[in-house]
Symmetry: C2
Subunit: 339 residues, 2 copies
């Protein structure tokens, strides 16, 4: 393993093996039979490559092949279980499929999303997955202009096939469970978190409302606080609600773990043992969050299925634009859920 400060190229190898760069290239790519290179020469080249720790310059390959082997993904953030496991599964599957995955997080910042997409285009991604993008269609246009296909994950867009959770059904069932679990025929029900402008939040609100309606529970406008995702904002919105209402709601539907993070200090039963705090459901899963309250119900989005479906779509794109909804996972109902 000679410590060459500079990288070994196929030309170096060619010289060492007493052959030409084209031949080395063919050998390295494993199509030396097709190009009728003798096994002896092929072996010699491979040995040299091994000995020198040779690695193909993928940039040069990408340039000449006019395809990079890179697929990109943008995600809003890494620091919650949902997006982190999306990133993790995406990478694993992409590698299996022979791609070089590049994931980057854009902190729900529309400008950063666009900048990141541009950067990825510069690095010649062959396809871009927009996860939870605030404006997937804008990114789609950008990519389309460069001839790069896109797919949407988690949040749908109007211009590319989208793979998302079945938000309505998940929210509907979660609300059913909360209602049955709170032991009150007519609880005050509150929804907190998310953006009214985004599809998922809207559908979750719809599911929440529909379940309440079927149970004869009234949900006034003020009981739906789509105040944004951030923990801070959820905290402020909830604090304001309990101040005006002078009580906690009986039933609390939280739009995501991020928002839940902001609410917990206000509803933690560990902290305020006296106060009557709500039955809490959250559209998202986290192993620790699930243990912060005696009956917290968490809906888990089926990341494995989503990624599987995503790669089916990548490897065999459907001709028409589709909206694919993946059912969520609700933990089995236990006796303890029913107070």
């Amino acid at each position: 393993m000679p410590e060459s400060a500079k990288k070994t190229t196929i030309y170096d190898l060619a010289e060492l093996a007493g052959t030409s760069a084209g031949t080395v290239s063919a050998v390295i790519n494993g199509n030396w039979k097709k190009r009728r290179i003798s096994e002896k020469l092929a072996q010699r080249v491979l040995d040299l490559a091994e000995k020198h720790g040779f690695a193909l310059n993928m940039q040069a390959r990408a340039l000449s092949r006019e395809k990079s082997g890179i697929i990109g993904m943008i995600v809003p953030m890494y620091d919650n279980r949902y997006f982190s496991s999306i990133a993790q599964s995406f990478e694993a599957r992409a590698r299996e499929a022979g791609y070089f995955p590049i994931v980057t997080c854009t902190r729900r910042d529309p400008e950063l999303e666009v900048a990141a997409a541009r950067a990825m285009l510069g690095y010649q991604v062959e396809l871009l997955v927009c996860t939870g993008a605030t404006d997937p269609d804008r990114i789609h246009d950008l990519c389309a202009a460069a001839g790069v296909p896109t797919l949407n994950l988690d949040l749908p867009g109007g211009k590319a096939t989208s793979i998302i959770s079945d938000n309505f059904a998940g929210a509907f069932e979660l609300t059913n469970r909360l209602i049955s679990s709170c032991g009150n025929p007519n609880p005050s029900a509150l929804f907190v978190g998310g953006r009214a402008s985004d599809h998922n939040t809207r559908e979750r609100i719809n599911g929440f409302r529909e379940s309440c309606r079927l149970h004869g529970i009234d949900v006034p406008k003020d009981n739906v606080l789509s105040c944004g995702y951030a923990a801070e904002k959820a905290n402020v919105a909830y604090r304001s609600w309990i101040t005006t209402n002078e009580a906690h709601p009986a039933l609390l539907f939280v739009n995501s773990t991020i928002s839940l993070e902001g609410l917990l200090p206000l509803i933690d039963t560990t902290a305020n043992k006296e106060e009557k705090t709500p039955v809490v459901g959250c559209f998202d899963w986290d192993p620790f969050a699930a243990r912060t309250r005696p009956n917290m119900i968490m809906v888990r989005q089926d990341v494995a299925s989503m990624i599987k479906t995503l790669f089916e779509e990548i490897e065999d794109p459907s001709d028409d634009l589709r909206l694919i909804q993946i059912p969520t996972i609700i933990p089995p109902q236990t006796k303890e859920d029913l107070l």
Copy 2:
């Protein structure tokens, strides 16, 4: 914005502007003054670039400049707060510094680590940060052979500058806090999680032992269970310990949130109200985990400082190999901590 299926190149732009590719290149890179291009022509080129959504082919640029602008990081996983915030901060700082960051997770799999490093070398990373790598020195060798510098983060290596938490001091102080908090002059103290083979676990064990020693607490060999990081393994190890000892320890030091995830079902006070469960400390922080028990003490690793230091080292590398230890953050002691 004409929907050209194919990417616009500087040659296309040159033809449209009635000039040469070299000129376009100079204009795009902003050094047209240096090359004495007239402002009029420069503006014409820029307008055309804008109009066609032109993006430089970074692969081609990398090839000719012989530097890619890419810096890579490998992390063990995304799905805990520590590593996810490392990845997130790394990306943010890298972008600020004008790099294109590529992060990939290798699931603590030594082979995958090497494979990922190789792939990154293929894509011409200029520098590789090995975070929590099982064998950073092997990766260092790989990179060194290609003339690519490396830095270690979180877990130290012997061949590159390493930036890690001050594990000993953090563990020492955490143990002090646990001892003062458990209200028992001679508690049974147990350490769970991590690998005895890795530096951080060893140092944490040392800190734990040292604090116990100073408090006159005996820690038999069987009370240090470095059973691996995985939640499952911690669960099994702890379960076995409480079976043989027919009790929970009074004081439990958990090596990381990942291990904690496996232990919680066994020590959750919400679940088993009757049982006397330990005072728990964890070397790692998670906002939800912190709320799973009345007095859980979590040591937070100072990711912001670590990344800051990392980039100081990237932008102005020290000549000699260094081991930089970053102090951890322990939450202020509250009255409730003292039972």
